[in-house]
Amino acid sequence: MTGTIDPTVINLVVFVLAVFVGYHVIWNVTPALHTPLMSVTNAISSVIIVGAILAAGPYETDFGSILGAVAVGLAAVNVFGGFLVTQRMLGMFKKKAPKAEKEKA
């Protein structure tokens, strides 16, 4: 038992625990909000933009960094689109008397 732990092993630990967290959190989502769940998970999975930023990052612009920039653009569509459309949908789930609220606003 000597030496450092391989990063892949640490990744695997994180992965397994995250799947468990996901499993328990998702079962608590109310079925009425399953469509917003899909759009917000879309937005969250586009955190892959972080990888795209790293790809686009280096000083010299080459094949890889151009692909990275394209990936940044694609992921950004999802980041903005995903969160905003979720917000818009959630804004529609209102309690009673939505009319009264509108008149106040």
């Binding site: 996901g22 009425a32 998970t41 992921a75």
Partner: protein, 465 residues
Amino acid sequence: MSANQLALWYLAASVLFILALKGLSSPVSARRGNLFGMIGMAIAVVVTLAVTKKVAFILVAAAIGGMVGAFVARRVQMTQMPELVAAMHSLVGMAAVLIAIAVVNNPATFGIPDPMPVGNRLELFIGSFIGAVTFSGSVIAFGKLAGLGKKFRLFSSAPVAFGGQHILNLALAIAMIGFGVAFFLAEGRAWAPFAAMLAVAFVLGVLIIIPIGGADMPVVISMLNSYSGWAAAGIGFSLNNTMLIIAGSLVGSSGAILSYIMCKAMNRSFISVIMGGFGAAEGTTAAGTGEKTVRSGSAEDAAFLLANAESVVIVPGYGLAVARAQHAVKEMAQKLIAKGVNVRYAIHPVAGRMPGHMNVLLAEAEVPYEQVFEMEDINGEFGTTDVVLVLGANDVVNPLAHEKGSAIYGMPILEAHKARTVLVNKRSMAAGYAGLDNPLFYMEKTMMVFGDAKKVVEDMVKAIE
């Protein structure tokens, strides 16, 4: 910023993503949850930009994409949500593929030793093939959901099946894994096997989705949601980025659970949905027993029944979404409520083309969510309901599900047939997705109201005075 600081910021973002999903347990906390998600994303992007060099170049790319995303998010119709979600899945898949190519091109950019260790290559292979399958599969799903089938047969919402399909898919999957093995056994930048693997994965994504028919779309879209998460997690593994792994796993398990819920609501196994072709074979056999009579009436007759009922349950289906009748339905319900009728909505989990589709449409029409009930909460109440109004739904109210030997035996249904009177709006007597006749339509207490859902409901609104 040190690598440790970066990792801690990523941890904060990961926790915020978990809170975003946790918020969805109720409509009240959901909006705050979404805000947490946005903050998490902002943290993730800002700290990553802080460690990169060409910030302006990246911001331009992000601004272009962001403007497109914001524009679409504002303009999209709620009836178009399924295709929007499919389109967004495809973007995540494509981004994963592009990042994977950039990693192969220059691993050092990502802090990965060059030449890449075998472990990273394995992870990269997994992330990129899932990304590629997600991309092409989602493009097909988008086409099917957006109704592009008339222009391109590939996008037909009916299952596209051909002989030897499953064997071809299996062969392609084996070929893809073979190229993957060649990729991670090769020295240096093994472009040839990597490119071949990606090409096969793109084709496979198309072939997996084309045999799956329209009403199975809730499963497909959940499955692709799951894939997009696993693709992100796979890229996270190859970049040693724990935040990507966590976010990807959350999304992956979310999609997997939704797929499971959808399959269960149809009493079908995941495998049988994925194998596809359901409804294509049986479609012809069920029709032809046209001896039975149906009673049909006008919208005015239906309105009379509704206005004189004490309790009404509305069962919306895909037909309501196609006709965009949700606002008309809300108007009608309001008129009935003003007359003292107890109006509720009953939602089957697979009604529509994606999980929660009907709920969003009703929410858009400003139906208060207290009036909207899930299947298990309202099924016990049909027996004491005066009138059930079925709008463009079929299989989800088919009593054959209770009869042994029928194709949908065991599928949980909304028990509309237990109500005193049943009104069914459909465009024609055509069988539903499962290709089965529906005995509900021939019951003595059932009255069919033929026509487009929106037109019919609007006529009902006029008739209720």
